[in-house]
Protein backbone atom coordinates (compact mmCIF):
# COMPACT_ATOMS: atom_id res chain seq x y z
CA UNK A 1 0.00 0.00 0.00
CA UNK A 2 1.11 3.53 -0.55
CA UNK A 3 -0.04 6.03 1.96
CA UNK A 4 0.07 9.47 0.46
CA UNK A 5 1.95 11.84 2.65
CA UNK A 6 3.22 15.28 1.93
CA UNK A 7 6.94 15.89 1.97
CA UNK A 8 6.35 18.35 4.78
CA UNK A 9 4.88 15.73 7.04
CA UNK A 10 7.56 13.27 6.16
CA UNK A 11 10.19 15.83 7.10
CA UNK A 12 8.60 16.40 10.47
CA UNK A 13 8.38 12.65 11.10
CA UNK A 14 12.00 12.25 10.15
CA UNK A 15 13.19 15.08 12.36
CA UNK A 16 11.16 13.90 15.36
CA UNK A 17 12.21 10.25 15.01
CA UNK A 18 15.88 11.03 14.53
CA UNK A 19 15.96 13.36 17.55
CA UNK A 20 14.34 10.78 19.79
CA UNK A 21 16.47 7.99 18.35
CA UNK A 22 19.66 9.95 18.99
CA UNK A 23 18.50 10.86 22.51
CA UNK A 24 17.95 7.19 23.33
CA UNK A 25 21.25 6.22 21.73
CA UNK A 26 23.15 9.09 23.37
CA UNK A 27 24.47 7.23 26.45
CA UNK A 28 26.05 4.63 24.17
CA UNK A 29 27.41 7.24 21.78
CA UNK A 30 28.79 9.24 24.70
CA UNK A 31 30.50 6.17 26.13
CA UNK A 32 32.16 5.42 22.80
CA UNK A 33 33.30 9.04 22.33
CA UNK A 34 34.62 9.30 25.89
CA UNK A 35 36.69 6.17 25.40
CA UNK A 36 38.86 8.12 22.93
CA UNK A 37 39.48 11.09 25.26
CA UNK A 38 42.16 11.68 27.85
CA UNK A 39 40.99 11.48 31.48
CA UNK A 40 41.10 15.27 31.81
CA UNK A 41 39.04 15.80 28.69
CA UNK A 42 36.57 13.14 29.78
CA UNK A 43 35.40 15.20 32.75
CA UNK A 44 35.78 18.68 31.27
CA UNK A 45 32.94 21.14 31.80
CA UNK A 46 31.46 22.07 29.33
CA UNK A 47 31.67 18.53 27.92
CA UNK A 48 33.73 18.09 24.75
CA UNK A 49 31.75 16.53 21.99
CA UNK A 50 33.90 15.90 18.94
CA UNK A 51 36.76 18.36 19.12
CA UNK A 52 39.24 16.74 21.43
CA UNK A 53 42.55 14.94 20.96
CA UNK A 54 41.52 11.47 19.90
CA UNK A 55 43.63 8.81 21.58
CA UNK A 56 43.70 5.03 21.80
CA UNK A 57 45.64 5.10 25.05
CA UNK A 58 42.69 4.03 27.22
CA UNK A 59 42.29 0.82 25.30
CA UNK A 60 45.90 -0.21 25.77
CA UNK A 61 45.83 0.72 29.46
CA UNK A 62 42.65 -1.25 30.10
CA UNK A 63 44.01 -4.27 28.31
CA UNK A 64 47.31 -4.16 30.21
CA UNK A 65 45.87 -3.44 33.63
CA UNK A 66 43.01 -5.88 33.77
CA UNK A 67 43.80 -8.39 31.08
CA UNK A 68 40.67 -7.70 29.09
CA UNK A 69 41.38 -10.52 26.66
CA UNK A 70 40.93 -13.18 29.33
CA UNK A 71 37.48 -11.87 30.29
CA UNK A 72 36.53 -11.56 26.64
CA UNK A 73 37.62 -15.13 26.06
CA UNK A 74 35.56 -16.31 29.04
CA UNK A 75 32.53 -14.47 27.69
CA UNK A 76 32.95 -16.01 24.26
CA UNK A 77 33.33 -19.52 25.67
CA UNK A 78 30.48 -19.22 28.15
CA UNK A 79 28.01 -17.55 25.79
CA UNK A 80 29.05 -19.59 22.77
CA UNK A 81 29.32 -22.89 24.60
CA UNK A 82 25.98 -22.59 26.36
CA UNK A 83 24.22 -21.59 23.15
CA UNK A 84 25.70 -24.35 21.00
CA UNK A 85 25.15 -27.00 23.64
CA UNK A 86 21.59 -25.74 24.12
CA UNK A 87 20.87 -25.94 20.40
CA UNK A 88 22.28 -29.46 20.11
CA UNK A 89 19.88 -30.61 22.83
CA UNK A 90 16.96 -28.45 21.71
CA UNK A 91 16.90 -29.24 17.98
CA UNK A 92 15.71 -32.85 18.41
CA UNK A 93 13.20 -31.79 21.06
CA UNK A 94 11.75 -28.99 18.95
CA UNK A 95 11.75 -31.24 15.91
CA UNK A 96 9.76 -33.94 17.64
CA UNK A 97 7.21 -31.50 19.03
CA UNK A 98 6.75 -29.72 15.71
CA UNK A 99 6.44 -32.79 13.49
CA UNK A 100 5.21 -35.56 15.75
CA UNK A 101 2.94 -33.61 18.12
CA UNK A 102 1.10 -35.54 20.79
CA UNK A 103 -1.63 -34.58 23.18
CA UNK A 104 0.94 -33.45 25.68
CA UNK A 105 3.02 -31.26 23.37
CA UNK A 106 1.30 -28.05 24.39
CA UNK A 107 1.65 -28.85 28.08
CA UNK A 108 5.34 -29.66 27.67
CA UNK A 109 5.98 -26.41 25.84
CA UNK A 110 4.20 -24.36 28.47
CA UNK A 111 5.94 -26.22 31.25
CA UNK A 112 9.31 -25.47 29.67
CA UNK A 113 8.35 -21.82 29.53
CA UNK A 114 7.40 -21.94 33.20
CA UNK A 115 10.92 -23.02 34.20
CA UNK A 116 12.11 -19.74 32.70
CA UNK A 117 9.95 -17.90 35.23
CA UNK A 118 11.76 -19.38 38.20
CA UNK A 119 13.45 -16.39 39.88
CA UNK A 120 17.18 -17.05 40.03
CA UNK A 121 17.55 -15.68 43.53
CA UNK A 122 15.13 -18.33 44.81
CA UNK A 123 17.65 -21.06 44.08
CA UNK A 124 20.86 -19.09 44.60
CA UNK A 125 22.17 -20.98 47.62
CA UNK A 126 21.33 -24.48 46.39
CA UNK A 127 23.15 -23.70 43.15
CA UNK A 128 26.06 -22.30 45.09
CA UNK A 129 26.18 -25.44 47.20
CA UNK A 130 25.87 -27.79 44.24
CA UNK A 131 28.60 -25.90 42.43
CA UNK A 132 30.97 -26.26 45.40
CA UNK A 133 30.15 -29.96 45.79
CA UNK A 134 30.76 -30.66 42.12
CA UNK A 135 33.83 -28.44 41.89
CA UNK A 136 32.12 -26.20 39.36
CA UNK A 137 32.39 -22.90 41.22
CA UNK A 138 34.30 -20.33 39.19
CA UNK A 139 34.67 -22.66 36.21
CA UNK A 140 33.59 -21.95 32.67
CA UNK A 141 31.96 -25.35 32.26
CA UNK A 142 29.73 -24.64 35.27
CA UNK A 143 28.46 -21.41 33.76
CA UNK A 144 28.04 -23.03 30.36
CA UNK A 145 25.69 -25.55 31.97
CA UNK A 146 23.68 -23.00 33.97
CA UNK A 147 23.25 -20.56 31.08
CA UNK A 148 22.35 -23.43 28.77
CA UNK A 149 19.57 -24.45 31.17
CA UNK A 150 18.37 -20.88 31.60
CA UNK A 151 18.10 -20.27 27.87
CA UNK A 152 16.87 -23.74 26.93
CA UNK A 153 13.16 -22.77 27.02
CA UNK A 154 13.75 -19.83 24.68
CA UNK A 155 15.83 -21.97 22.34
CA UNK A 156 13.23 -24.76 22.21
CA UNK A 157 10.45 -22.26 21.67
CA UNK A 158 12.18 -20.34 18.91
CA UNK A 159 13.14 -23.51 17.07
CA UNK A 160 9.63 -24.88 17.53
CA UNK A 161 8.03 -21.81 15.93
CA UNK A 162 10.49 -21.97 13.03
CA UNK A 163 10.07 -25.70 12.49
CA UNK A 164 6.30 -25.39 12.47
CA UNK A 165 6.54 -23.22 9.39
CA UNK A 166 8.17 -26.01 7.42
CA UNK A 167 5.45 -27.82 5.43
CA UNK A 168 4.97 -31.42 6.57
CA UNK A 169 4.37 -32.61 2.99
CA UNK A 170 8.03 -32.27 2.17
CA UNK A 171 8.91 -34.62 5.00
CA UNK A 172 6.31 -37.10 3.89
CA UNK A 173 7.64 -37.02 0.35
CA UNK A 174 11.15 -37.75 1.54
CA UNK A 175 9.82 -40.56 3.68
CA UNK A 176 8.07 -42.06 0.66
CA UNK A 177 11.39 -41.99 -1.11
CA UNK A 178 12.68 -44.20 1.65
CA UNK A 179 14.66 -41.66 3.67
CA UNK A 180 15.42 -42.78 7.21
CA UNK A 181 14.74 -40.56 10.16
CA UNK A 182 18.39 -39.64 10.28
CA UNK A 183 18.54 -38.77 6.59
CA UNK A 184 15.36 -36.80 6.94
CA UNK A 185 16.83 -34.62 9.65
CA UNK A 186 20.25 -34.15 8.10
CA UNK A 187 19.36 -33.72 4.43
CA UNK A 188 15.83 -32.36 4.38
CA UNK A 189 15.05 -30.59 7.58
CA UNK A 190 18.33 -29.00 8.57
CA UNK A 191 18.91 -27.08 5.32
CA UNK A 192 15.37 -25.69 5.49
CA UNK A 193 15.64 -24.84 9.16
CA UNK A 194 19.10 -23.32 8.96
CA UNK A 195 17.99 -19.66 8.89
CA UNK A 196 15.80 -20.28 11.95
CA UNK A 197 18.62 -22.07 13.76
CA UNK A 198 20.98 -19.21 12.94
CA UNK A 199 18.62 -16.61 14.40
CA UNK A 200 18.12 -18.71 17.49
CA UNK A 201 21.87 -19.02 17.87
CA UNK A 202 22.37 -15.29 17.53
CA UNK A 203 19.69 -14.17 19.97
CA UNK A 204 20.65 -16.67 22.62
CA UNK A 205 24.31 -15.80 22.29
CA UNK A 206 23.36 -12.19 23.04
CA UNK A 207 21.20 -13.17 26.01
CA UNK A 208 23.94 -15.38 27.45
CA UNK A 209 26.58 -12.69 26.88
CA UNK A 210 24.57 -10.15 28.88
CA UNK A 211 23.38 -12.47 31.66
CA UNK A 212 24.37 -10.79 34.91
CA UNK A 213 23.06 -12.76 37.86
CA UNK A 214 24.73 -16.14 37.67
CA UNK A 215 27.85 -14.78 36.00
CA UNK A 216 28.33 -12.38 38.92
CA UNK A 217 27.44 -14.83 41.68
CA UNK A 218 29.10 -18.03 40.51
CA UNK A 219 32.47 -16.70 39.36
CA UNK A 220 35.41 -15.13 41.14
CA UNK A 221 38.63 -14.95 39.15
CA UNK A 222 39.17 -17.75 36.68
CA UNK A 223 35.86 -17.92 34.87
CA UNK A 224 34.76 -14.29 35.25
CA UNK A 225 33.31 -12.99 31.97
CA UNK A 226 32.90 -9.39 30.83
CA UNK A 227 29.87 -8.72 33.05
CA UNK A 228 32.08 -9.30 36.09
CA UNK A 229 34.99 -7.42 34.51
CA UNK A 230 32.80 -4.33 34.19
CA UNK A 231 31.29 -4.74 37.64
CA UNK A 232 34.83 -4.58 39.08
CA UNK A 233 34.95 -0.98 37.84
CA UNK A 234 32.17 -0.01 40.24
CA UNK A 235 34.70 0.35 43.07
CA UNK A 236 35.87 3.94 43.56
CA UNK A 237 39.48 3.28 42.56
CA UNK A 238 38.29 2.34 39.11
CA UNK A 239 36.62 5.68 38.62
CA UNK A 240 38.34 6.95 35.52
CA UNK A 241 35.75 7.91 32.99
CA UNK A 242 37.83 7.45 29.88
CA UNK A 243 39.09 4.04 30.94
CA UNK A 244 35.66 2.99 32.15
CA UNK A 245 34.33 4.01 28.73
CA UNK A 246 36.99 2.08 26.89
CA UNK A 247 36.26 -1.02 28.98
CA UNK A 248 32.51 -0.58 28.43
CA UNK A 249 32.91 -0.08 24.71
CA UNK A 250 34.96 -3.26 24.45
CA UNK A 251 32.34 -5.17 26.42
CA UNK A 252 29.34 -4.08 24.37
CA UNK A 253 30.71 -3.50 20.86
CA UNK A 254 30.67 -7.09 19.62
CA UNK A 255 27.20 -7.74 20.93
CA UNK A 256 25.80 -4.44 19.68
CA UNK A 257 26.82 -5.39 16.15
CA UNK A 258 25.28 -8.86 16.46
CA UNK A 259 22.17 -7.29 17.98
CA UNK A 260 21.61 -5.02 15.02
CA UNK A 261 21.49 -8.06 12.77
CA UNK A 262 19.12 -10.00 14.98
CA UNK A 263 16.60 -7.32 15.94
CA UNK A 264 13.82 -8.85 13.84
CA UNK A 265 14.20 -12.26 15.51
CA UNK A 266 14.29 -10.63 18.91
CA UNK A 267 10.53 -10.02 18.94
CA UNK A 268 9.68 -13.56 18.04
CA UNK A 269 12.19 -15.11 20.41
CA UNK A 270 11.37 -13.07 23.46
CA UNK A 271 7.61 -13.20 23.14
CA UNK A 272 7.65 -16.97 22.64
CA UNK A 273 5.93 -16.61 19.31
CA UNK A 274 3.01 -14.60 20.70
CA UNK A 275 3.96 -11.56 18.61
CA UNK A 276 5.34 -12.06 15.12
Amino acid sequence: MARNVTTGRKTINTLASWSIGLLIFFPILWTILTSFKTEAQAISDPPLFLFFDWTLENYTVVQERSNYMRFLWNSVIIAGGSTILGIIIAVPAAWSMAFVPSKRTKDILLWMLSTKMLPAVGVLYPMYLLFIKMGLLDTRIGLVIVLMLINMPIIVWMLYTYFREIPGEILEASRMDGASLRDEIIYVLTPMALPGIASTLLLNFILAWNEAFWTLNLTAVNAAPLTAFIASYSSPEGLFFAKLSAASTMAIAPILLLGWFSQKQLVRGLTFGAVK
Binding site: G21, A120, G122, V123, L181, I252
Partner: protein
Protein backbone atom coordinates in the same frame (compact mmCIF):
# COMPACT_ATOMS: atom_id res chain seq x y z
CA UNK B 1 1.26 -40.10 9.16
CA UNK B 2 3.30 -40.69 12.26
CA UNK B 3 4.10 -44.33 12.63
CA UNK B 4 4.60 -46.11 15.92
CA UNK B 5 8.29 -46.13 15.14
CA UNK B 6 8.57 -42.40 14.64
CA UNK B 7 6.49 -41.74 17.74
CA UNK B 8 8.87 -43.55 20.01
CA UNK B 9 11.80 -41.93 18.21
CA UNK B 10 10.19 -38.55 18.82
CA UNK B 11 9.86 -39.28 22.51
CA UNK B 12 13.48 -40.26 22.68
CA UNK B 13 14.50 -37.01 21.03
CA UNK B 14 12.44 -34.98 23.45
CA UNK B 15 13.86 -36.76 26.47
CA UNK B 16 17.23 -34.98 26.98
CA UNK B 17 15.70 -31.50 27.01
CA UNK B 18 12.86 -32.55 29.31
CA UNK B 19 15.10 -34.45 31.73
CA UNK B 20 17.61 -31.60 31.95
CA UNK B 21 14.97 -28.97 32.57
CA UNK B 22 13.19 -31.19 35.06
CA UNK B 23 16.41 -31.62 36.98
CA UNK B 24 17.19 -27.91 36.75
CA UNK B 25 13.79 -27.11 38.17
CA UNK B 26 13.38 -29.82 40.79
CA UNK B 27 16.81 -30.24 42.38
CA UNK B 28 17.55 -26.66 43.49
CA UNK B 29 13.88 -25.99 44.20
CA UNK B 30 13.63 -28.99 46.52
CA UNK B 31 16.77 -27.86 48.29
CA UNK B 32 15.40 -24.33 48.73
CA UNK B 33 12.17 -25.73 50.15
CA UNK B 34 14.13 -28.00 52.47
CA UNK B 35 16.40 -25.22 53.74
CA UNK B 36 13.45 -22.89 54.25
CA UNK B 37 12.23 -25.14 57.09
CA UNK B 38 15.65 -25.41 58.73
CA UNK B 39 17.91 -23.29 60.87
CA UNK B 40 20.99 -23.01 58.70
CA UNK B 41 23.73 -20.52 59.57
CA UNK B 42 27.01 -21.83 58.08
CA UNK B 43 29.03 -19.10 59.81
CA UNK B 44 27.83 -20.34 63.22
CA UNK B 45 28.89 -23.88 62.47
CA UNK B 46 25.66 -25.36 61.08
CA UNK B 47 26.48 -28.03 58.51
CA UNK B 48 24.26 -30.25 56.41
CA UNK B 49 26.20 -33.38 57.36
CA UNK B 50 25.95 -32.45 61.05
CA UNK B 51 22.17 -32.21 60.75
CA UNK B 52 20.07 -29.06 60.66
CA UNK B 53 17.38 -28.16 63.16
CA UNK B 54 13.81 -28.24 61.91
CA UNK B 55 12.15 -24.92 62.70
CA UNK B 56 8.80 -25.26 60.95
CA UNK B 57 7.49 -22.04 59.50
CA UNK B 58 9.67 -19.83 61.67
CA UNK B 59 11.81 -18.64 58.74
CA UNK B 60 8.70 -17.73 56.80
CA UNK B 61 7.20 -15.67 59.59
CA UNK B 62 10.56 -14.09 60.42
CA UNK B 63 11.17 -13.10 56.81
CA UNK B 64 7.77 -11.44 56.57
CA UNK B 65 8.09 -9.98 60.05
CA UNK B 66 11.47 -8.34 59.47
CA UNK B 67 11.50 -4.58 59.16
CA UNK B 68 13.17 -4.82 55.74
CA UNK B 69 10.44 -6.96 54.18
CA UNK B 70 7.62 -4.52 53.42
CA UNK B 71 9.92 -1.74 52.22
CA UNK B 72 11.52 -4.25 49.87
CA UNK B 73 8.13 -5.30 48.50
CA UNK B 74 7.22 -1.65 48.05
CA UNK B 75 10.52 -0.92 46.30
CA UNK B 76 10.00 -3.90 44.00
CA UNK B 77 6.45 -2.90 43.10
CA UNK B 78 7.46 0.73 42.62
CA UNK B 79 10.24 -0.20 40.21
CA UNK B 80 8.16 -2.74 38.28
CA UNK B 81 5.10 -0.47 38.15
CA UNK B 82 6.92 2.71 37.15
CA UNK B 83 9.05 1.05 34.51
CA UNK B 84 5.97 -0.65 33.04
CA UNK B 85 4.02 2.60 32.82
CA UNK B 86 6.96 4.55 31.38
CA UNK B 87 7.97 1.95 28.81
CA UNK B 88 4.38 1.25 27.71
CA UNK B 89 3.30 4.86 27.30
CA UNK B 90 6.51 5.98 25.62
CA UNK B 91 6.69 2.70 23.71
CA UNK B 92 3.24 3.19 22.16
CA UNK B 93 4.01 6.78 21.21
CA UNK B 94 7.39 5.86 19.80
CA UNK B 95 6.01 2.89 17.88
CA UNK B 96 3.32 5.11 16.34
CA UNK B 97 5.96 7.64 15.33
CA UNK B 98 8.35 5.05 13.90
CA UNK B 99 5.52 3.53 11.86
CA UNK B 100 5.13 6.81 9.94
CA UNK B 101 6.85 7.26 6.60
CA UNK B 102 10.27 8.90 7.03
CA UNK B 103 13.81 8.91 5.76
CA UNK B 104 16.30 6.55 7.35
CA UNK B 105 13.76 4.42 9.22
CA UNK B 106 16.13 1.48 9.44
CA UNK B 107 18.83 3.54 11.12
CA UNK B 108 16.40 5.05 13.62
CA UNK B 109 15.22 1.54 14.50
CA UNK B 110 18.81 0.54 15.19
CA UNK B 111 19.40 3.62 17.36
CA UNK B 112 16.26 2.93 19.38
CA UNK B 113 16.85 -0.79 19.90
CA UNK B 114 20.52 -0.47 20.90
CA UNK B 115 20.16 -0.02 24.70
CA UNK B 116 18.61 -3.47 24.88
CA UNK B 117 21.90 -5.05 23.83
CA UNK B 118 24.01 -3.26 26.42
CA UNK B 119 24.84 -5.59 29.29
CA UNK B 120 23.17 -4.52 32.56
CA UNK B 121 26.44 -3.97 34.40
CA UNK B 122 27.66 -1.61 31.68
CA UNK B 123 24.49 0.45 31.49
CA UNK B 124 24.33 0.73 35.27
CA UNK B 125 27.97 1.85 35.48
CA UNK B 126 27.77 4.28 32.59
CA UNK B 127 24.67 5.93 34.03
CA UNK B 128 26.04 5.93 37.54
CA UNK B 129 29.35 7.57 36.69
CA UNK B 130 29.18 9.42 33.42
CA UNK B 131 25.65 10.73 33.77
CA UNK B 132 24.69 10.76 37.44
CA UNK B 133 27.98 11.58 39.11
CA UNK B 134 27.19 14.73 41.12
CA UNK B 135 30.50 16.42 40.17
CA UNK B 136 31.60 15.18 36.78
CA UNK B 137 28.45 13.64 35.31
CA UNK B 138 26.74 15.06 32.24
CA UNK B 139 23.58 15.76 34.21
CA UNK B 140 25.59 17.75 36.76
CA UNK B 141 27.10 19.79 33.91
CA UNK B 142 23.61 20.36 32.55
CA UNK B 143 22.30 21.47 35.95
CA UNK B 144 25.31 23.80 36.36
CA UNK B 145 24.66 25.26 32.94
CA UNK B 146 21.19 26.30 34.01
CA UNK B 147 22.54 27.58 37.30
CA UNK B 148 20.92 24.85 39.37
CA UNK B 149 22.47 22.85 42.19
CA UNK B 150 23.52 19.40 40.81
CA UNK B 151 21.51 16.52 42.21
CA UNK B 152 23.11 13.68 44.18
CA UNK B 153 21.20 11.29 41.95
CA UNK B 154 21.88 7.92 43.52
CA UNK B 155 21.44 9.05 47.12
CA UNK B 156 18.88 11.86 46.99
CA UNK B 157 16.79 10.50 44.13
CA UNK B 158 17.89 6.88 44.25
CA UNK B 159 14.57 5.33 43.25
CA UNK B 160 14.01 7.73 40.37
CA UNK B 161 17.55 7.08 39.13
CA UNK B 162 17.13 3.32 39.11
CA UNK B 163 13.76 3.63 37.41
CA UNK B 164 15.37 5.86 34.78
CA UNK B 165 18.20 3.40 34.11
CA UNK B 166 15.91 0.38 33.92
CA UNK B 167 13.37 2.19 31.74
CA UNK B 168 16.15 3.13 29.36
CA UNK B 169 17.06 -0.54 29.10
CA UNK B 170 13.52 -1.77 28.51
CA UNK B 171 11.96 0.98 26.37
CA UNK B 172 13.58 -0.52 23.23
CA UNK B 173 12.00 -3.90 23.92
CA UNK B 174 8.51 -2.44 24.38
CA UNK B 175 8.88 -0.19 21.34
CA UNK B 176 10.08 -2.98 19.08
CA UNK B 177 7.27 -5.34 20.02
CA UNK B 178 4.56 -2.68 19.76
CA UNK B 179 5.99 -1.55 16.43
CA UNK B 180 5.85 -5.12 15.14
CA UNK B 181 2.22 -5.29 16.24
CA UNK B 182 1.29 -2.01 14.54
CA UNK B 183 2.96 -3.06 11.33
CA UNK B 184 0.88 -6.21 11.19
CA UNK B 185 -2.30 -4.13 11.30
CA UNK B 186 -4.43 -4.51 8.23
CA UNK B 187 -3.92 -1.24 6.41
CA UNK B 188 -7.17 -1.53 4.46
CA UNK B 189 -9.12 -1.33 7.66
CA UNK B 190 -7.24 1.83 8.58
CA UNK B 191 -7.71 3.39 5.19
CA UNK B 192 -11.41 2.62 5.22
CA UNK B 193 -11.80 4.35 8.55
CA UNK B 194 -9.72 7.22 7.24
CA UNK B 195 -12.10 7.61 4.31
CA UNK B 196 -15.09 7.44 6.59
CA UNK B 197 -13.61 10.52 8.15
CA UNK B 198 -12.76 9.04 11.54
CA UNK B 199 -10.55 11.55 13.37
CA UNK B 200 -7.04 10.50 14.33
CA UNK B 201 -7.77 10.03 18.02
CA UNK B 202 -10.78 7.85 17.28
CA UNK B 203 -8.77 5.76 14.87
CA UNK B 204 -6.11 5.30 17.51
CA UNK B 205 -8.60 4.45 20.25
CA UNK B 206 -10.91 2.11 18.35
CA UNK B 207 -8.63 0.44 15.82
CA UNK B 208 -4.93 0.72 16.65
CA UNK B 209 -5.09 0.32 20.41
CA UNK B 210 -7.34 -2.79 20.42
CA UNK B 211 -5.06 -4.30 17.78
CA UNK B 212 -2.07 -3.72 20.05
CA UNK B 213 -3.73 -5.01 23.20
CA UNK B 214 -2.26 -8.48 22.93
CA UNK B 215 1.24 -7.20 22.26
CA UNK B 216 0.84 -4.86 25.22
CA UNK B 217 -0.20 -7.72 27.47
CA UNK B 218 2.83 -9.72 26.36
CA UNK B 219 5.12 -6.74 27.00
CA UNK B 220 3.66 -6.25 30.47
CA UNK B 221 4.04 -9.89 31.45
CA UNK B 222 7.51 -10.49 30.07
CA UNK B 223 8.86 -7.26 31.47
CA UNK B 224 7.31 -8.02 34.86
CA UNK B 225 9.06 -11.37 34.99
CA UNK B 226 12.42 -9.79 34.18
CA UNK B 227 11.89 -6.68 36.30
CA UNK B 228 10.92 -8.66 39.40
CA UNK B 229 14.42 -10.07 39.40
CA UNK B 230 16.62 -7.14 38.31
CA UNK B 231 19.87 -7.47 40.11
CA UNK B 232 22.96 -6.00 38.40
CA UNK B 233 21.45 -2.52 38.15
CA UNK B 234 21.11 -2.33 41.94
CA UNK B 235 24.26 -4.30 42.73
CA UNK B 236 26.39 -1.84 40.75
CA UNK B 237 24.69 1.45 41.63
CA UNK B 238 23.38 1.68 45.19
CA UNK B 239 24.09 -1.80 46.53
CA UNK B 240 20.58 -1.79 47.98
CA UNK B 241 21.07 1.41 49.97
CA UNK B 242 18.84 4.51 49.95
CA UNK B 243 15.57 2.62 49.82
CA UNK B 244 16.34 0.66 46.66
CA UNK B 245 16.49 -2.77 48.26
CA UNK B 246 14.16 -4.95 46.23
CA UNK B 247 12.89 -8.36 47.27
CA UNK B 248 15.50 -10.02 45.04
CA UNK B 249 18.25 -7.95 46.59
CA UNK B 250 17.03 -8.57 50.12
CA UNK B 251 17.12 -12.32 49.55
CA UNK B 252 20.58 -12.02 47.96
CA UNK B 253 21.82 -10.19 51.08
CA UNK B 254 20.28 -12.70 53.47
CA UNK B 255 21.84 -15.61 51.62
CA UNK B 256 25.28 -14.37 50.57
CA UNK B 257 26.03 -11.46 52.88
CA UNK B 258 24.55 -12.53 56.22
CA UNK B 259 24.70 -16.22 55.30
CA UNK B 260 21.33 -17.00 56.83
CA UNK B 261 20.36 -19.73 54.42
CA UNK B 262 17.12 -20.77 56.10
CA UNK B 263 15.78 -17.24 56.16
CA UNK B 264 16.94 -16.49 52.62
CA UNK B 265 15.39 -19.70 51.33
CA UNK B 266 12.04 -18.78 52.85
CA UNK B 267 12.37 -15.44 51.05
CA UNK B 268 13.21 -17.33 47.88
CA UNK B 269 10.00 -19.32 48.17
CA UNK B 270 8.04 -16.05 48.45
CA UNK B 271 9.79 -14.74 45.33
CA UNK B 272 8.95 -17.93 43.44
CA UNK B 273 5.29 -17.69 44.42
CA UNK B 274 5.18 -14.05 43.31
CA UNK B 275 6.76 -14.85 39.94
CA UNK B 276 4.39 -17.76 39.41
CA UNK B 277 1.33 -15.58 39.84
CA UNK B 278 2.57 -13.42 36.95
CA UNK B 279 3.65 -16.45 34.96
CA UNK B 280 0.19 -18.01 35.00
CA UNK B 281 -1.25 -15.03 33.13
CA UNK B 282 1.57 -15.05 30.59
CA UNK B 283 1.09 -18.75 29.91
CA UNK B 284 -2.58 -18.21 29.17
CA UNK B 285 -1.79 -15.72 26.44
CA UNK B 286 1.02 -17.75 24.94
CA UNK B 287 -1.01 -20.96 25.28
CA UNK B 288 -3.90 -19.52 23.28
CA UNK B 289 -1.48 -18.86 20.48
CA UNK B 290 -0.55 -22.54 20.33
CA UNK B 291 -4.06 -23.68 19.49
CA UNK B 292 -4.01 -21.93 16.15
Amino acid sequence: MATQHSRSAARLMLAPAVVLLLGWMLVPLTMTLYFSFKKYLPLRGDTISGGLDWVGFENYSRFIGSSAFWPSVQATLLIVGSVLVITLVLGVLLALLLDQPMWGQGIVRILVISPFFVMPTVSALVWKNMFMDPVNGILAHLWNFFGAEPVQWLSQASMESIILIVSWQWLPFATLILLTAIQSLDSEQLEASEMDGAPILKRFWFIILPHMSRAMAVVILIQTIFLLSIFAEIFVTTGGAFGTKTLTYLIFQRVLESQNIGLGSAGGVYAIILANIVAIFLMRIVGKNLDK
